[in-house]
Protein backbone atom coordinates (compact mmCIF):
# COMPACT_ATOMS: atom_id res chain seq x y z
CA UNK A 1 0.00 0.00 0.00
CA UNK A 2 1.28 3.46 -0.90
CA UNK A 3 1.25 5.06 2.55
CA UNK A 4 2.82 8.23 1.20
CA UNK A 5 -0.28 8.81 -0.92
CA UNK A 6 -2.54 8.18 2.10
CA UNK A 7 -0.66 10.68 4.26
CA UNK A 8 -0.54 13.29 1.48
CA UNK A 9 -4.32 12.95 1.12
CA UNK A 10 -4.68 13.18 4.90
CA UNK A 11 -2.67 16.41 5.04
CA UNK A 12 -4.60 17.92 2.13
CA UNK A 13 -7.94 16.82 3.61
CA UNK A 14 -7.14 18.36 7.00
CA UNK A 15 -6.15 21.63 5.34
CA UNK A 16 -9.09 21.68 2.92
CA UNK A 17 -11.76 21.21 5.62
CA UNK A 18 -9.94 23.06 8.39
CA UNK A 19 -12.92 25.12 9.61
CA UNK A 20 -15.16 22.05 9.77
CA UNK A 21 -12.50 20.09 11.62
CA UNK A 22 -12.08 22.90 14.15
CA UNK A 23 -15.88 22.93 14.66
CA UNK A 24 -15.91 19.15 15.23
CA UNK A 25 -12.94 19.32 17.65
CA UNK A 26 -14.58 22.13 19.67
CA UNK A 27 -17.92 20.31 19.82
CA UNK A 28 -16.08 17.18 20.92
CA UNK A 29 -14.25 19.22 23.54
CA UNK A 30 -17.50 20.45 25.13
CA UNK A 31 -19.49 17.21 24.76
CA UNK A 32 -16.69 14.96 26.02
CA UNK A 33 -15.90 17.32 28.91
CA UNK A 34 -19.57 17.26 29.96
CA UNK A 35 -19.63 13.47 29.64
CA UNK A 36 -16.42 13.33 31.72
CA UNK A 37 -17.90 15.62 34.38
CA UNK A 38 -21.01 13.38 34.45
CA UNK A 39 -18.80 10.33 35.02
CA UNK A 40 -16.84 12.08 37.77
CA UNK A 41 -20.11 13.08 39.45
CA UNK A 42 -21.23 9.45 39.32
CA UNK A 43 -17.97 8.45 41.01
CA UNK A 44 -18.52 11.23 43.54
CA UNK A 45 -22.03 9.97 44.31
CA UNK A 46 -20.63 6.48 44.90
CA UNK A 47 -17.90 7.81 47.18
CA UNK A 48 -20.43 9.86 49.14
CA UNK A 49 -22.60 6.79 49.55
CA UNK A 50 -19.63 4.74 50.69
CA UNK A 51 -18.75 7.34 53.30
CA UNK A 52 -22.23 8.18 54.51
CA UNK A 53 -24.14 5.06 53.64
CA UNK A 54 -26.79 5.07 51.02
CA UNK A 55 -30.29 6.40 51.31
CA UNK A 56 -31.69 3.05 52.41
CA UNK A 57 -29.61 2.86 55.57
CA UNK A 58 -30.27 3.61 59.25
CA UNK A 59 -27.44 3.41 61.76
CA UNK A 60 -27.95 2.33 65.34
CA UNK A 61 -25.08 3.62 67.45
CA UNK A 62 -24.49 1.69 70.66
CA UNK A 63 -23.42 2.96 74.04
CA UNK A 64 -19.64 3.19 74.48
CA UNK A 65 -19.53 4.36 78.06
CA UNK A 66 -17.40 7.37 77.14
CA UNK A 67 -19.42 10.08 75.48
CA UNK A 68 -22.93 8.70 75.28
CA UNK A 69 -25.81 11.02 74.45
CA UNK A 70 -28.47 8.75 75.92
CA UNK A 71 -28.75 9.09 79.71
CA UNK A 72 -30.09 5.51 79.81
CA UNK A 73 -26.65 4.18 78.80
CA UNK A 74 -24.95 2.48 81.70
CA UNK A 75 -21.49 1.87 80.31
CA UNK A 76 -20.52 0.19 77.04
CA UNK A 77 -22.96 -2.16 75.37
CA UNK A 78 -22.53 -5.81 76.38
CA UNK A 79 -22.94 -9.00 74.37
CA UNK A 80 -26.37 -9.88 75.76
CA UNK A 81 -27.69 -6.43 74.85
CA UNK A 82 -26.20 -6.78 71.37
CA UNK A 83 -27.89 -10.17 71.00
CA UNK A 84 -31.30 -8.61 71.83
CA UNK A 85 -30.68 -5.82 69.32
CA UNK A 86 -29.58 -8.14 66.48
CA UNK A 87 -32.54 -10.47 67.18
CA UNK A 88 -34.91 -7.50 66.96
CA UNK A 89 -33.35 -6.45 63.67
CA UNK A 90 -33.38 -9.97 62.22
CA UNK A 91 -37.07 -10.33 63.07
CA UNK A 92 -38.03 -7.06 61.42
CA UNK A 93 -39.50 -7.59 57.95
CA UNK A 94 -38.32 -4.17 56.69
CA UNK A 95 -34.68 -5.00 57.39
CA UNK A 96 -32.80 -6.22 54.38
CA UNK A 97 -29.23 -6.45 55.68
CA UNK A 98 -27.33 -5.62 58.88
CA UNK A 99 -23.64 -4.77 58.94
CA UNK A 100 -21.72 -4.29 62.17
CA UNK A 101 -19.07 -1.61 62.46
CA UNK A 102 -16.60 -1.78 65.34
CA UNK A 103 -15.17 1.27 67.12
CA UNK A 104 -11.87 0.73 65.27
CA UNK A 105 -13.59 0.60 61.88
CA UNK A 106 -15.52 3.75 62.66
CA UNK A 107 -12.27 5.45 63.66
CA UNK A 108 -10.54 4.37 60.43
CA UNK A 109 -13.41 5.82 58.42
CA UNK A 110 -13.11 9.09 60.27
CA UNK A 111 -9.37 9.14 59.65
CA UNK A 112 -9.97 8.61 55.92
CA UNK A 113 -11.85 11.93 55.85
CA UNK A 114 -8.65 13.61 57.04
CA UNK A 115 -10.41 15.62 59.77
CA UNK A 116 -8.16 17.83 61.85
CA UNK A 117 -7.34 16.36 65.28
CA UNK A 118 -8.05 12.77 64.32
CA UNK A 119 -4.62 11.81 63.02
CA UNK A 120 -1.19 12.59 64.37
CA UNK A 121 0.71 11.62 67.52
CA UNK A 122 -1.75 13.09 70.02
CA UNK A 123 -5.26 12.92 68.50
CA UNK A 124 -8.18 14.65 70.17
CA UNK A 125 -10.48 11.80 69.20
CA UNK A 126 -9.54 8.15 69.74
CA UNK A 127 -11.12 4.84 68.75
CA UNK A 128 -12.65 4.51 72.22
CA UNK A 129 -14.63 7.70 71.63
CA UNK A 130 -16.34 6.16 68.58
CA UNK A 131 -19.58 4.21 68.79
CA UNK A 132 -19.92 0.62 67.77
CA UNK A 133 -22.83 0.52 65.33
CA UNK A 134 -25.25 -1.53 63.24
CA UNK A 135 -25.76 -0.28 59.69
CA UNK A 136 -29.18 -1.41 58.64
CA UNK A 137 -30.15 -1.55 55.00
CA UNK A 138 -33.90 -1.33 54.55
CA UNK A 139 -36.07 -3.09 52.03
CA UNK A 140 -38.03 0.16 51.70
CA UNK A 141 -36.85 3.54 53.08
CA UNK A 142 -40.44 4.59 53.78
CA UNK A 143 -40.57 2.17 56.71
CA UNK A 144 -37.57 3.54 58.61
CA UNK A 145 -39.90 4.68 61.42
CA UNK A 146 -41.07 1.10 62.10
CA UNK A 147 -37.51 -0.18 62.47
CA UNK A 148 -36.44 2.75 64.63
CA UNK A 149 -39.51 2.25 66.83
CA UNK A 150 -38.69 -1.44 67.31
CA UNK A 151 -35.01 -1.02 68.11
CA UNK A 152 -34.27 2.49 69.41
CA UNK A 153 -35.66 1.86 72.87
CA UNK A 154 -33.66 -1.31 73.51
CA UNK A 155 -30.94 -1.34 76.16
CA UNK A 156 -27.48 -0.60 74.80
CA UNK A 157 -28.66 1.75 72.04
CA UNK A 158 -27.24 5.23 72.39
CA UNK A 159 -28.70 7.06 69.43
CA UNK A 160 -30.05 6.53 65.92
CA UNK A 161 -28.65 8.04 62.75
CA UNK A 162 -31.06 8.18 59.84
CA UNK A 163 -28.45 8.80 57.14
CA UNK A 164 -31.12 9.83 54.69
CA UNK A 165 -31.43 13.18 56.43
CA UNK A 166 -27.70 13.93 55.98
CA UNK A 167 -26.98 12.42 52.59
CA UNK A 168 -30.32 13.24 51.00
CA UNK A 169 -29.55 16.85 50.01
CA UNK A 170 -25.94 16.04 48.98
CA UNK A 171 -26.98 13.08 46.85
CA UNK A 172 -29.88 15.05 45.37
CA UNK A 173 -27.48 17.85 44.37
CA UNK A 174 -24.99 15.38 42.90
CA UNK A 175 -27.79 13.57 41.04
CA UNK A 176 -29.11 16.86 39.69
CA UNK A 177 -25.70 17.92 38.43
CA UNK A 178 -25.13 14.48 36.96
CA UNK A 179 -28.45 14.61 35.07
CA UNK A 180 -27.71 18.13 33.80
CA UNK A 181 -24.24 17.05 32.60
CA UNK A 182 -25.73 13.96 30.97
CA UNK A 183 -28.44 15.91 29.11
CA UNK A 184 -25.87 18.48 27.96
CA UNK A 185 -23.51 15.71 26.85
CA UNK A 186 -26.27 13.91 24.88
CA UNK A 187 -27.31 17.11 23.06
CA UNK A 188 -23.70 17.90 22.15
CA UNK A 189 -22.95 14.31 21.19
CA UNK A 190 -25.80 14.55 18.65
CA UNK A 191 -24.33 17.85 17.41
CA UNK A 192 -20.89 16.22 17.13
CA UNK A 193 -22.32 13.27 15.18
CA UNK A 194 -24.09 15.58 12.73
CA UNK A 195 -20.96 17.69 12.31
CA UNK A 196 -18.83 14.61 11.62
CA UNK A 197 -21.42 13.44 9.08
CA UNK A 198 -21.39 16.83 7.36
CA UNK A 199 -17.61 16.92 7.29
CA UNK A 200 -17.42 13.50 5.67
CA UNK A 201 -20.06 14.49 3.12
CA UNK A 202 -18.11 17.65 2.23
CA UNK A 203 -14.79 15.82 2.09
CA UNK A 204 -16.26 13.09 -0.13
CA UNK A 205 -17.76 15.75 -2.41
CA UNK A 206 -14.45 17.64 -2.66
CA UNK A 207 -12.69 14.38 -3.59
CA UNK A 208 -15.40 12.91 -5.79
CA UNK A 209 -13.20 12.94 -8.91
CA UNK A 210 -10.29 11.13 -7.24
CA UNK A 211 -12.70 8.68 -5.60
CA UNK A 212 -14.39 7.97 -8.94
CA UNK A 213 -11.04 7.27 -10.60
CA UNK A 214 -9.82 5.16 -7.68
CA UNK A 215 -12.96 3.02 -7.87
CA UNK A 216 -12.57 2.55 -11.61
CA UNK A 217 -8.92 1.52 -11.48
CA UNK A 218 -9.66 -0.98 -8.71
CA UNK A 219 -8.49 0.67 -5.48
CA UNK A 220 -9.83 -1.21 -2.48
CA UNK A 221 -12.54 0.33 -0.31
CA UNK A 222 -10.14 0.46 2.64
CA UNK A 223 -7.56 2.32 0.59
CA UNK A 224 -10.16 4.87 -0.54
CA UNK A 225 -11.61 5.22 2.96
CA UNK A 226 -8.30 5.36 4.83
CA UNK A 227 -7.65 9.13 4.42
CA UNK A 228 -11.20 9.83 5.69
CA UNK A 229 -10.73 7.54 8.69
CA UNK A 230 -7.34 9.03 9.54
CA UNK A 231 -8.77 12.55 9.17
CA UNK A 232 -11.52 11.70 11.66
CA UNK A 233 -9.04 10.04 13.99
CA UNK A 234 -6.79 13.13 14.04
CA UNK A 235 -9.79 15.38 14.82
CA UNK A 236 -10.98 12.92 17.49
CA UNK A 237 -7.55 12.91 19.14
CA UNK A 238 -7.46 16.71 19.18
CA UNK A 239 -10.98 16.84 20.72
CA UNK A 240 -10.11 14.14 23.27
CA UNK A 241 -6.84 15.88 24.17
CA UNK A 242 -8.62 19.21 24.70
CA UNK A 243 -11.35 17.60 26.82
CA UNK A 244 -8.62 15.85 28.86
CA UNK A 245 -7.06 19.24 29.59
CA UNK A 246 -10.49 20.68 30.49
CA UNK A 247 -11.31 17.75 32.81
CA UNK A 248 -7.89 17.91 34.43
CA UNK A 249 -8.48 21.63 35.04
CA UNK A 250 -11.84 20.83 36.69
CA UNK A 251 -10.04 18.29 38.89
CA UNK A 252 -7.14 20.55 39.79
CA UNK A 253 -8.80 23.94 40.18
CA UNK A 254 -12.22 22.67 41.31
CA UNK A 255 -11.68 19.56 43.38
CA UNK A 256 -8.07 19.75 44.56
CA UNK A 257 -7.80 23.48 45.16
CA UNK A 258 -11.29 24.14 46.54
CA UNK A 259 -13.41 21.13 47.52
CA UNK A 260 -10.77 18.83 49.01
CA UNK A 261 -10.24 21.22 51.95
CA UNK A 262 -13.84 20.61 53.06
CA UNK A 263 -14.15 17.30 54.89
CA UNK A 264 -17.87 16.74 54.24
CA UNK A 265 -17.09 13.65 52.22
CA UNK A 266 -14.26 11.94 50.37
CA UNK A 267 -13.73 13.66 47.01
CA UNK A 268 -12.91 12.11 43.66
CA UNK A 269 -9.16 11.92 42.98
CA UNK A 270 -6.84 11.41 40.03
CA UNK A 271 -7.61 7.67 39.93
CA UNK A 272 -11.28 8.43 39.22
CA UNK A 273 -10.17 11.11 36.74
CA UNK A 274 -8.12 8.61 34.70
CA UNK A 275 -10.86 5.96 34.67
CA UNK A 276 -13.44 8.59 33.56
CA UNK A 277 -11.05 10.00 30.96
CA UNK A 278 -10.44 6.52 29.52
CA UNK A 279 -14.20 6.15 28.94
CA UNK A 280 -14.35 9.68 27.46
CA UNK A 281 -11.48 8.85 25.09
CA UNK A 282 -13.20 5.68 23.87
CA UNK A 283 -16.45 7.62 23.46
CA UNK A 284 -14.65 10.32 21.44
CA UNK A 285 -13.09 7.79 19.08
CA UNK A 286 -16.38 5.93 18.62
CA UNK A 287 -18.24 9.20 18.04
CA UNK A 288 -16.02 10.09 15.12
CA UNK A 289 -14.94 6.77 13.64
CA UNK A 290 -18.34 5.01 13.61
CA UNK A 291 -20.15 7.70 11.54
CA UNK A 292 -17.05 8.01 9.33
CA UNK A 293 -17.06 4.26 8.65
CA UNK A 294 -20.79 4.20 7.95
CA UNK A 295 -20.74 7.28 5.71
CA UNK A 296 -17.62 6.38 3.76
CA UNK A 297 -19.29 3.04 3.01
CA UNK A 298 -22.24 5.00 1.67
CA UNK A 299 -20.33 7.61 -0.34
CA UNK A 300 -17.51 5.47 -1.71
CA UNK A 301 -19.43 2.33 -2.37
CA UNK A 302 -17.52 0.24 -4.91
Amino acid sequence: MQLRYVFTELRQGLRRNLSMHVAVALTLLVSLTLAGVGLLLREQAQLTEEVWGDELQITFYMCNGANDRNPQCAGAVDDSQKKVITDALDDNKYVDKVEEESQEQAYERLQALDVEGVSGPDPVVKADDMWESYWVTMTDPHHSAEIIEAVAGLDGIDHVGDVHEVTGPILAAVDGLQSAALVGAIVLVIAALLLVANTIRLAAFARRREIGIMRLVGASTLYIALPFLLESLVVALVGIGLSGVALASVMYFGVEQRLSSTAVTQWVGWEEFFSSFAIVAILGILLTLVPTLLLTRKYIKV
Binding site: E210, V217, G218, A219, S220, T221, V302
Partner: protein, 229 residues
Protein backbone atom coordinates in the same frame (compact mmCIF):
# COMPACT_ATOMS: atom_id res chain seq x y z
CA UNK B 1 -14.06 -12.74 -22.01
CA UNK B 2 -17.42 -10.94 -21.61
CA UNK B 3 -20.74 -12.80 -21.78
CA UNK B 4 -24.30 -11.54 -21.27
CA UNK B 5 -26.92 -14.26 -20.82
CA UNK B 6 -30.49 -12.97 -21.24
CA UNK B 7 -29.61 -9.87 -19.26
CA UNK B 8 -32.33 -7.39 -18.38
CA UNK B 9 -31.85 -4.25 -16.38
CA UNK B 10 -34.73 -2.12 -15.13
CA UNK B 11 -34.24 1.11 -13.20
CA UNK B 12 -36.80 2.00 -10.54
CA UNK B 13 -39.42 4.46 -11.76
CA UNK B 14 -38.82 3.78 -15.44
CA UNK B 15 -41.54 2.06 -17.44
CA UNK B 16 -39.21 0.46 -19.99
CA UNK B 17 -36.14 -1.61 -19.03
CA UNK B 18 -32.77 -0.21 -20.09
CA UNK B 19 -31.73 -3.67 -21.30
CA UNK B 20 -34.14 -6.40 -22.36
CA UNK B 21 -33.00 -10.02 -22.47
CA UNK B 22 -29.64 -9.15 -24.01
CA UNK B 23 -27.31 -12.03 -24.89
CA UNK B 24 -23.84 -11.32 -26.29
CA UNK B 25 -20.52 -13.09 -26.18
CA UNK B 26 -17.24 -11.23 -26.65
CA UNK B 27 -14.09 -13.31 -27.07
CA UNK B 28 -10.61 -12.56 -25.75
CA UNK B 29 -8.74 -10.12 -27.98
CA UNK B 30 -11.81 -8.86 -29.86
CA UNK B 31 -12.47 -5.21 -30.74
CA UNK B 32 -16.19 -4.54 -30.49
CA UNK B 33 -18.15 -1.38 -31.20
CA UNK B 34 -21.34 -0.92 -29.20
CA UNK B 35 -23.61 1.37 -31.18
CA UNK B 36 -27.13 2.69 -30.88
CA UNK B 37 -29.03 5.90 -30.21
CA UNK B 38 -28.97 7.66 -26.87
CA UNK B 39 -31.07 5.64 -24.43
CA UNK B 40 -30.52 2.40 -26.32
CA UNK B 41 -28.79 0.77 -23.34
CA UNK B 42 -25.10 1.13 -24.31
CA UNK B 43 -24.03 2.84 -21.09
CA UNK B 44 -26.01 0.38 -18.96
CA UNK B 45 -24.25 -2.50 -20.71
CA UNK B 46 -20.85 -0.90 -19.97
CA UNK B 47 -21.83 -0.28 -16.32
CA UNK B 48 -22.79 -3.92 -15.96
CA UNK B 49 -19.37 -4.95 -17.33
CA UNK B 50 -17.71 -2.76 -14.70
CA UNK B 51 -20.07 -4.00 -11.99
CA UNK B 52 -21.21 -0.45 -11.37
CA UNK B 53 -24.70 -1.90 -11.79
CA UNK B 54 -26.11 -5.38 -11.32
CA UNK B 55 -28.53 -7.01 -13.75
CA UNK B 56 -32.17 -7.31 -12.73
CA UNK B 57 -32.32 -10.75 -14.36
CA UNK B 58 -29.85 -12.82 -16.34
CA UNK B 59 -26.12 -13.33 -15.90
CA UNK B 60 -23.10 -11.23 -16.79
CA UNK B 61 -19.65 -12.84 -16.93
CA UNK B 62 -16.53 -10.68 -17.08
CA UNK B 63 -13.05 -12.26 -17.17
CA UNK B 64 -14.56 -15.56 -16.10
CA UNK B 65 -16.43 -14.16 -13.08
CA UNK B 66 -20.20 -13.88 -12.75
CA UNK B 67 -20.44 -10.30 -11.58
CA UNK B 68 -23.80 -10.69 -9.84
CA UNK B 69 -22.30 -13.26 -7.49
CA UNK B 70 -19.07 -11.38 -6.95
CA UNK B 71 -18.60 -10.32 -3.31
CA UNK B 72 -18.17 -6.57 -2.79
CA UNK B 73 -14.58 -6.90 -1.61
CA UNK B 74 -13.65 -8.75 -4.82
CA UNK B 75 -14.93 -5.97 -7.11
CA UNK B 76 -11.69 -3.91 -6.96
CA UNK B 77 -9.74 -6.96 -8.14
CA UNK B 78 -12.13 -7.34 -11.11
CA UNK B 79 -11.75 -3.65 -11.98
CA UNK B 80 -7.95 -3.98 -12.07
CA UNK B 81 -8.50 -6.28 -15.04
CA UNK B 82 -10.79 -3.79 -16.78
CA UNK B 83 -9.45 -0.39 -17.89
CA UNK B 84 -11.90 2.43 -18.62
CA UNK B 85 -11.81 5.61 -20.66
CA UNK B 86 -14.50 8.26 -20.99
CA UNK B 87 -15.54 11.07 -23.29
CA UNK B 88 -14.63 13.68 -20.64
CA UNK B 89 -11.12 12.23 -19.96
CA UNK B 90 -11.59 12.44 -16.14
CA UNK B 91 -8.07 13.61 -15.40
CA UNK B 92 -7.03 15.10 -12.06
CA UNK B 93 -6.38 18.80 -12.72
CA UNK B 94 -3.94 19.17 -9.82
CA UNK B 95 -1.62 16.39 -11.01
CA UNK B 96 0.66 16.44 -14.02
CA UNK B 97 0.52 13.88 -16.84
CA UNK B 98 2.95 11.41 -15.23
CA UNK B 99 1.21 11.73 -11.83
CA UNK B 100 -2.20 11.15 -13.42
CA UNK B 101 -0.95 7.97 -15.03
CA UNK B 102 0.95 6.88 -11.92
CA UNK B 103 -2.20 7.43 -9.81
CA UNK B 104 -3.75 4.21 -11.16
CA UNK B 105 -0.69 2.27 -9.98
CA UNK B 106 -0.34 4.07 -6.65
CA UNK B 107 -3.89 3.38 -5.51
CA UNK B 108 -3.64 -0.28 -6.48
CA UNK B 109 -0.57 -0.77 -4.32
CA UNK B 110 2.31 -0.93 -6.82
CA UNK B 111 5.80 -0.10 -5.64
CA UNK B 112 7.52 3.17 -6.51
CA UNK B 113 10.13 1.23 -8.47
CA UNK B 114 7.44 -0.35 -10.67
CA UNK B 115 5.76 3.03 -11.12
CA UNK B 116 9.02 4.75 -12.11
CA UNK B 117 9.67 2.07 -14.68
CA UNK B 118 6.21 1.66 -16.19
CA UNK B 119 4.97 5.27 -16.39
CA UNK B 120 7.55 6.46 -18.99
CA UNK B 121 7.06 3.24 -20.99
CA UNK B 122 3.30 3.75 -21.12
CA UNK B 123 3.60 7.46 -21.94
CA UNK B 124 5.86 6.52 -24.84
CA UNK B 125 3.33 3.91 -25.98
CA UNK B 126 0.53 6.50 -26.15
CA UNK B 127 2.73 9.08 -27.87
CA UNK B 128 3.27 11.42 -24.92
CA UNK B 129 6.98 10.83 -24.52
CA UNK B 130 8.57 13.87 -22.86
CA UNK B 131 5.24 15.39 -21.74
CA UNK B 132 5.11 13.77 -18.32
CA UNK B 133 5.53 17.01 -16.40
CA UNK B 134 2.81 18.93 -18.29
CA UNK B 135 -0.43 19.77 -16.51
CA UNK B 136 -3.69 18.54 -18.11
CA UNK B 137 -4.84 22.07 -19.02
CA UNK B 138 -1.67 22.55 -21.06
CA UNK B 139 -2.64 19.67 -23.37
CA UNK B 140 -4.97 19.41 -26.37
CA UNK B 141 -8.13 17.27 -26.11
CA UNK B 142 -6.47 14.48 -28.06
CA UNK B 143 -3.45 14.52 -25.76
CA UNK B 144 -5.66 14.51 -22.67
CA UNK B 145 -7.47 11.45 -23.99
CA UNK B 146 -4.09 9.79 -24.55
CA UNK B 147 -3.28 10.42 -20.89
CA UNK B 148 -6.60 8.77 -19.98
CA UNK B 149 -5.74 5.80 -22.22
CA UNK B 150 -2.30 5.54 -20.59
CA UNK B 151 -3.92 5.55 -17.14
CA UNK B 152 -6.43 2.89 -18.18
CA UNK B 153 -3.74 0.71 -19.76
CA UNK B 154 -0.87 1.08 -17.28
CA UNK B 155 -2.04 -1.84 -15.13
CA UNK B 156 -2.18 -3.93 -18.35
CA UNK B 157 -5.88 -4.82 -18.08
CA UNK B 158 -7.36 -7.76 -19.98
CA UNK B 159 -10.30 -5.61 -21.09
CA UNK B 160 -10.51 -1.95 -22.05
CA UNK B 161 -13.92 -0.30 -21.95
CA UNK B 162 -14.25 2.99 -23.78
CA UNK B 163 -17.40 5.09 -23.46
CA UNK B 164 -17.50 7.56 -26.38
CA UNK B 165 -13.73 8.21 -26.14
CA UNK B 166 -13.69 10.32 -29.33
CA UNK B 167 -16.91 12.22 -28.60
CA UNK B 168 -15.03 15.43 -27.69
CA UNK B 169 -12.28 15.16 -30.32
CA UNK B 170 -11.77 16.59 -33.78
CA UNK B 171 -11.37 14.15 -36.71
CA UNK B 172 -7.56 14.29 -36.60
CA UNK B 173 -7.36 13.40 -32.92
CA UNK B 174 -10.13 10.80 -33.33
CA UNK B 175 -7.97 8.94 -35.85
CA UNK B 176 -4.98 9.15 -33.51
CA UNK B 177 -6.93 7.70 -30.57
CA UNK B 178 -8.43 4.94 -32.74
CA UNK B 179 -4.96 3.96 -33.98
CA UNK B 180 -3.78 3.84 -30.39
CA UNK B 181 -6.73 1.65 -29.32
CA UNK B 182 -6.09 -0.60 -32.32
CA UNK B 183 -2.46 -1.02 -31.23
CA UNK B 184 -3.53 -1.88 -27.70
CA UNK B 185 -6.05 -4.36 -29.12
CA UNK B 186 -3.31 -6.01 -31.18
CA UNK B 187 -1.36 -6.61 -27.97
CA UNK B 188 -4.20 -8.93 -26.91
CA UNK B 189 -6.43 -6.58 -24.91
CA UNK B 190 -10.16 -6.96 -25.51
CA UNK B 191 -11.74 -3.61 -26.35
CA UNK B 192 -15.42 -2.68 -26.05
CA UNK B 193 -16.16 0.80 -27.29
CA UNK B 194 -19.50 2.60 -27.19
CA UNK B 195 -19.74 5.27 -29.89
CA UNK B 196 -21.94 7.41 -32.11
CA UNK B 197 -19.18 8.03 -34.64
CA UNK B 198 -20.58 6.61 -37.90
CA UNK B 199 -17.54 7.30 -40.07
CA UNK B 200 -15.07 5.79 -37.67
CA UNK B 201 -17.10 2.59 -37.21
CA UNK B 202 -17.45 2.26 -40.97
CA UNK B 203 -13.70 2.71 -41.48
CA UNK B 204 -12.52 0.32 -38.76
CA UNK B 205 -14.56 -2.68 -40.01
CA UNK B 206 -14.67 -4.35 -36.60
CA UNK B 207 -17.45 -6.31 -34.92
CA UNK B 208 -20.52 -4.11 -34.31
CA UNK B 209 -23.19 -4.77 -31.70
CA UNK B 210 -26.20 -2.50 -32.11
CA UNK B 211 -28.77 -1.91 -29.40
CA UNK B 212 -32.21 -0.33 -29.71
CA UNK B 213 -34.45 0.25 -26.68
CA UNK B 214 -32.40 -2.31 -24.77
CA UNK B 215 -32.75 -5.03 -27.41
CA UNK B 216 -29.95 -6.48 -29.52
CA UNK B 217 -30.83 -5.57 -33.12
CA UNK B 218 -27.52 -6.38 -34.82
CA UNK B 219 -24.35 -8.33 -34.07
CA UNK B 220 -22.15 -8.22 -37.13
CA UNK B 221 -18.52 -9.18 -37.65
CA UNK B 222 -16.65 -6.44 -39.58
CA UNK B 223 -19.76 -4.28 -39.67
CA UNK B 224 -20.42 -0.63 -40.43
CA UNK B 225 -22.44 1.80 -38.38
CA UNK B 226 -25.51 1.73 -40.56
CA UNK B 227 -25.23 -1.79 -42.03
CA UNK B 228 -28.32 -3.94 -42.05
CA UNK B 229 -28.82 -7.66 -41.40
Amino acid sequence: MIRFEKVSKAYPGQARPALNSLSIDIQKGEFVFLVGQSGSGKSTALKLMLREQRPTTGRVYVAGKEINRLAGWKVPRLRRQVGTIFQDFRLLANKNVAENVAFAMQVTGHSNREIRQRVPETLELVGLDGKGDRMPDELSGGEQQRVAVARAFINRPMILIADEPTGNLDPGNTVGIMRLLDRINRSGTTIVMATHDVQMVDQMRKRVIELEHGHLVRDQVQGGYGAQF
